[in-house]
């Protein structure tokens, strides 16, 4: 199989999805500007024209509503938010309209919408251009949430999101864009709600999401040299969540560390820890470890940024810590 960068996997997927289904179109503020979207949209405008590659005013609320309205009317839009931070402007449309529509109107029209939510952080960008808001969206009934960690999953999850009849928040971390991996050229889907074991192990279950899967792989290699055998799980979907995969692993290892790039309080780590306590309590041999952002806004200075974002070292430290207890 060929090896391509993550950014190219997304670009290829967009080309194939839009070419393959006349209901699919791309809309969002900045879809034609390379600096917003890191090269993921190269060639789309030339190939499909401004009718289906719709660059918009910076009106996140109305543009999100328009994508939802188009989805209700039979289209399958891909709505791009170049930074998750800007999605707060569109929360009424996402949380009140898209998430509730199918249920509130008695299961009639659904909202087959992919919201491509880009995390663009680091580089001294500070608190309003850095946020990872997966926990906030995972909290809301009626939304599905996925976070690819590899070029393969970037493609397979994006195609699965587009094919799904519901609103899906597809969260894409730009720190992954240069990462390379094997990706089939043809279209394929990674089912929503199916996690994957990235590495088998017996001592501790390490769950990592999105970019932190990369860091967790490094951490696991370091720990292996210390005689600690980590089982690494990438849930890929936060909702629906592959509970079986997670619980099976926790029951095997008896220990759990969660590494997620959002904030700690009421975050993804809190949710997965609670799940383990609810459904695998008697198997747990030690407290659960959480690796996350601290409960603080993102700073600009590099010295602060370095401490702010978790990495392989902080993941390894958390694993060692729970093994001590």
């Amino acid at each position: 199989m060929r090896t391509i960068p993550y950014v190219q996997a997304i670009n290829e997927t967009l080309h194939q999805a839009i070419a393959g289904d006349e209901r699919v179109f791309l809309i969002g503020a900045g879809v034609t500007t390379p600096w917003y979207v890191g090269g993921t949209t190269v060639g789309l405008l030339d190939r499909f024209g401004p009718e289906r590659i719709i660059d918009t005013p910076v009106s996140e609320n109305a543009v999100t509503g328009a994508a939802i309205g188009a989805a209700l009317a039979g289209m399958r839009p891909i709505l791009m938010h170049s930074r998750m931070d800007f999605m707060f402007y569109a929360m009424d449309q996402i949380a009140n309209q898209a998430a509730n529509w199918y249920y509130m109107f008695g299961g009639q029209l659904s909202v087959p919408l992919t919201i491509w939510a880009i995390v663009n952080r680091g580089g001294e960008q500070a608190a309003q251009h850095s946020q990872s808001l997966q926990a906030m969206f995972t909290h809301i009934p009626g939304l599905k949430v996925v976070m690819p960690a590899t070029p393969y999953d970037a493609k397979g999850l994006l195609l699965a999101s587009i094919a799904d009849d519901n609103p899906v928040i597809y969260i894409d971390d730009r720190w992954l864009y240069e990462k390379t991996g094997e990706v089939p050229e043809e279209m394929f889907t990674v089912p929503l709600g199916k996690g994957i074991v990235r590495k088998d192990g017996k001592d501790v279950t390490l769950v990592a999401t999105s970019y932190l899967v990369t860091e967790a792989i490094k951490a696991a290699a370091t720990l292996e040299k210390e005689g600690i055998d980590v089982e690494l799980i990438d849930p890929r979907s936060l909702k629906p969540l592959d509970e079986d995969l997670l619980l099976k692993s926790v029951k095997k290892t008896g220990r759990l560390v969660i590494a997620d790039g959002g904030w700690k309080t009421a975050g993804i780590g809190a949710e997965l820890a609670a799940l383990a306590v609810e459904k695998a309590f008697k198997y747990l041999k030690s407290p659960v470890g959480r690796v996350s952002l601290p409960d603080a806004p993102a700073p600009a200075s590099p010295t602060l940024e370095k401490r702010y974002y978790p990495d392989a070292d902080s993941i390894a430290a958390s694993v060692r810590e729970i093994l001590k207890s």
Partner: protein
């Protein structure tokens, strides 16, 4: 579509308006009797707007409504029994008891749903219009909203986007002079809402929303223009709701407005005006009027009986339809 200024057309408009009036009066009674308990926003006094606008629409055109939606739902051809059953939050309701009075939907009649948060529906209509164009359809999306909704930022975003992309959407503002409890003068720096259209280079028009013929003609022009690809229009229909923001009371008792103001607007009753016109131009006789009233009363009572006899949703259904199952249609 018939020409609604013909005697036959006038009769249809009048019947629609009277149906809405009698339905809302009945629902008001049922709320007072606590048979209907969900928040119910009555449309009495505004009937000419829904009837006049929707008479220009085909079933394939879409109407996005709001919390005060019964008039739009009826005028667009929605099923009366399903609406009343939804007010009773029964399993036979238009949204299977999930939405209540604020949220009936009947997509096959061009009623995709009615959000109940001010202005939330505007961009949805813009998006439906975008879909219609991408699909090569000549359908139009119409969105009804109140004066209060124009204070939301998304109102401006939606007008800009619709104008920029020249989309087939018509914005119908029902200016009933009150945003919940607050008179328009207390919450709008510029109460001439139609003038906001100029800022987005689209036609804006203020009309008498209690004159069904005027509403029919002016909205007809806007809808035809949208259908021909000439982009959106903002139509401000001046009207008045006779009841309070929610429920059957008038809000006069709560000191929110004066009896004199209400009386003045009741003297300009849109249904009576349509009736006078129909008598004059369409030869409506007292006997015919009585027959229309009788038909409407029978239809409403049949709907109420249907709703009363219908079961509530099975509690096992609580968690169904959070997501639509299965793959791509």
């Amino acid at each position: 579509m018939v020409n609604n200024t013909s005697p036959e057309g006038l009769r249809k408009l009048y019947t629609t308006m009277l149906t809405i009036r009698r339905l809302e009066e009945r629902l008001g009674e049922l709320v007072e009797q606590r048979e209907i308990q969900c928040p119910t926003h009555l449309y009495i006094g505004q009937e000419a707007v829904a009837a006049g606008v929707c008479a220009n629409l085909k079933p394939t055109d879409w109407v996005f409504s709001n919390h005060r939606n019964h008039g739009h739902y009826i005028a667009k051809g929605g099923d009366l029994k399903a609406l009343v059953a939804e007010c009773y939050v029964k399993s036979t309701g238009a949204s299977r008891g999930r939405g209540g009075s604020m949220h009936p939907a009947q997509p096959e009649m061009g009623l995709p749903g009615s959000p109940a948060i001010l202005s939330g529906s505007l961009p949805l209509a813009v998006g439906a219009a975008l879909a219609f164009r991408l699909q090569g359809k000549d359908s139009v999306a119409v969105v009804f909203f109140g004066d209060g909704a124009t204070n939301e930022g998304v109102f401006y975003e939606s007008l800009n986007l619709a104008s920029l992309k020249k989309l087939p959407v018509v914005f119908i503002c029902e200016n009933n002079l009150y945003a919940t409890h607050m008179p328009v003068g207390a919450c709008l720096a510029n109460t001439e809402l139609y003038r906001k259209a100029a800022a987005f280079c689209i036609p804006g028009l203020r009309i008498d929303g209690n004159n069904v013929v005027e509403v029919y003609k002016e909205s007809g022009k806007a809808i035809a223009a949208a259908r021909r690809g000439r982009g959106p229009t903002l139509l401000e229909c001046m009207t008045y709701r006779w009841r309070g923001h929610v429920g059957p009371s008038t809000d006069v008792d709560r000191g929110l407005r004066s009896q004199a103001e209400l009386d003045a607007w009741m003297a300009r009753c849109p249904v009576d005006a349509a009736e006078r016109l129909l008598k004059e131009k369409g030869g409506l006789t007292d006997a015919e009027k009585a027959a229309i009233e009788e038909n409407i009363a029978a239809e409403i009572e049949a709907a109420v009986t249907f709703a009363r006899r219908s079961p509530y949703p099975d509690d096992k259904e609580l968690l169904t339809d959070v997501f639509k199952e299965g793959k791509c249609r």
